[in-house]
């Protein structure tokens, strides 16, 4: 194992910065699937312990692979929808036009992620998708008419886009060793959020009880044990913030933000509705993969 690579991985938990002169093309050069635990075990004596923040075994490559899975699935989903007859889409032409835009974005995202990954690892074979959720008719379908009933299609589109937003959000902390990849992920993240909001506004125009942002007031569109993971932890009423340790060497702590005591207005539902709406929560890689797994076989 190359010591320079190890040091580079260590640098993924920096407390200092240095000049960025790395060309984008090379920014991801020779990533290795090394996690912090492997790294600690492999470190030569005398190089000290890992920084305390290093508590994950996800690499940049892991995060990119997850993003590729997600974007491929979304791209296939919209591509398939756009092959449906014109009668599948509403009379308002701007709606199909938005789906066309989203499909184009997802294709661009797939191409970008493929470029980033391919210089470091093999690109996995494309999975087989079944957007009904029946896993090729081996179980009851979750969305049996997903490409014939437009509202069913929109429901799944919302679930996938919201999953995308939350999945990217959970990955950014693993990308901090590389400015280019981190910023790219944030730009992908907010693109997905714009998609999600657009899908939600279309659904609202079609009389669904839904806001452009995930809200506890949204009518449920999930199935327990299947798709409920998408919003299970999204409507959190508590946010915690990091408190630096008071003495050197002590661990930091997290404390809840006391919204009840802060000047955020006096509405009845501020704490139960507005606070959950004001924050999108991360969704772990495992949870995101479980959701994507419902539509692959």
């Amino acid at each position: 194992m190359n010591i320079l690579k190890l040091l580079a991985d260590l640098a993924a938990t920096p407390t200092t910065q240095f000049e960025n002169s790395t060309p984008r093309r090379e920014a991801l050069g020779e990533l290795r699937r090394i996690g912090a635990k492997t790294l600690a075990a492999a470190l030569p004596l005398g190089l000290g312990a890992l920084p305390t923040q290093a508590r994950t075994t996800r690499t940049i490559l892991d995060s990119l692979q997850l993003a590729l899975q997600l974007e491929r699935l979304q791209s296939a989903f919209y591509t398939r929808a756009l092959t449906a007859p014109a009668s599948f889409f509403p009379a308002d032409g701007s709606i199909r036009a938005s789906i066309v835009k989203m499909q184009a974005h997802q294709q661009q995202h797939v191409a970008l992620l493929t470029r980033l990954i391919s210089s470091n690892a093999a690109i996995p074979a494309l999975p087989t998708y079944d957007f009904t959720g029946s896993k090729n008719n081996t179980q009851p379908a979750l969305f049996p008419n997903v490409f014939s009933n437009f509202d069913q299609f929109l429901t799944l589109a919302q679930l996938l886009e919201d999953t995308g937003v939350r999945a990217y959000k959970a990955q950014v902390e693993f990308l901090t060793a590389d400015n280019y990849t981190l910023q790219t992920a944030l730009q992908l993240h907010s693109t997905e959020a714009r998609h999600a909001a657009r899908i939600r506004t279309i659904r609202r125009q079609r009389a669904a009880v839904v806001k452009p942002w995930p809200s506890p007031t949204d009518a449920s569109i999930t199935v327990a044990g299947k798709t409920d993971v998408v919003y299970a932890t999204e409507h959190a009423t508590t946010q915690v913030i990091y408190q630096a340790p008071t003495s050197t060497g002590a661990a930091g702590t997290y404390k809840p933000v006391p919204f009840r005591l802060l000047p955020i207005g006096s509405g009845m539902e501020l704490l139960t509705v507005s606070v959950p709406e004001a924050f999108d929560e991360p969704l772990s890689a495992e949870e995101a993969e479980a959701l994507l797994g419902l539509f692959t076989y």
């Binding site: 920014a27 981190l182 933000v257």
Partner: protein, 236 residues
């Protein structure tokens, strides 16, 4: 935050200097780096210099958190003003949206103020800043949503550009929870003005806009009563 130095040729000499010393692992990233070129913060007349480094020239997040706090203050003040005197021609549901937007921005503002605590730039000010919205037309729905669209798009680009500059992961996570909600706000404002315009900020590779603090502060200048300088913030 940092850059991978895989691609950076590491001087053998500097490597052995690091390997031979009992240093904290985090200082390893200094190996092979040039001197810190950042100038000392320039004094700003009647203004605010965002702080990017501590006394030992180690990068800190205070300046960027205050930058985000200022953005959220501006947005909250904007929606407060609009909701207090809404345009007469709002369409059904739009006042509800504006009220939600105001509530979200107030919550974001107080969240960031709580994170900053005594490090908030205005922690010792007796009165908060008064923002200037005179360049907006707030008497029509189109004027209001045009202004909202502009402010929200700036906010999204600001968060997208600031993430990599943060030092602490917990701050990156904290801001990313807000960033996507701002993007949802922005998309809504776009749609209320022009159907299917939700993604007009999305450019090459399907990537949404990102701006540096310097670019963002230049755009915000008309609305701010003070000069805000990003000169001390790290640019990588």
């Amino acid at each position: 935050m940092s850059t991978l130095f895989l691609a950076r040729a590491m001087q053998r000499r500097s490597f052995f200097r690091v390997a031979g010393a009992t240093v904290a692992a985090s200082t390893l990233v200094l190996a092979g780096c040039g001197d810190d070129p950042d100038p000392a913060p320039a004094p700003v007349d009647n203004g605010l210099a965002l702080v990017g480094f501590d006394a030992n020239r180690n990068p800190i997040d205070d300046g960027l958190l205050n930058y985000a706090y200022l953005l959220e203050q501006l947005e909250a003040a904007f929606y407060q003003k609009v909701v207090a005197a809404p345009p007469a021609d709002l369409l059904p549901g739009e006042l509800g949206y504006l009220t939600d937007l105001r509530d979200h921005e107030l919550i974001h503002r107080e969240y960031l103020k709580t994170i900053l605590g005594s490090r908030a730039y205005d922690a010792t000010l007796s009165t908060p800043l008064e923002f200037n919205f005179s360049t907006f037309t707030l008497t029509t729905r189109v004027g209001v949503w045009t202004a909202a669209r502009q402010l929200e798009d700036i906010g999204v680009a600001a968060y997208n550009g600031a993430g990599k500059l943060l030092v602490q992961k917990y701050n990156l996570i904290a801001l990313s929870k807000i960033a996507s909600v701002e993007a949802r706000h922005a998309a809504l404002a776009h749609e209320l003005l022009q159907s299917d315009s939700f993604a007009s900020t999305v450019g090459a590779d399907g990537l949404d806009d990102a701006k540096t603090p310097v670019e963002v502060l230049a755009l915000l200048e008309p609305y701010l009563p003070i000069k805000v300088s990003a000169a001390d913030l790290s640019t990588t």
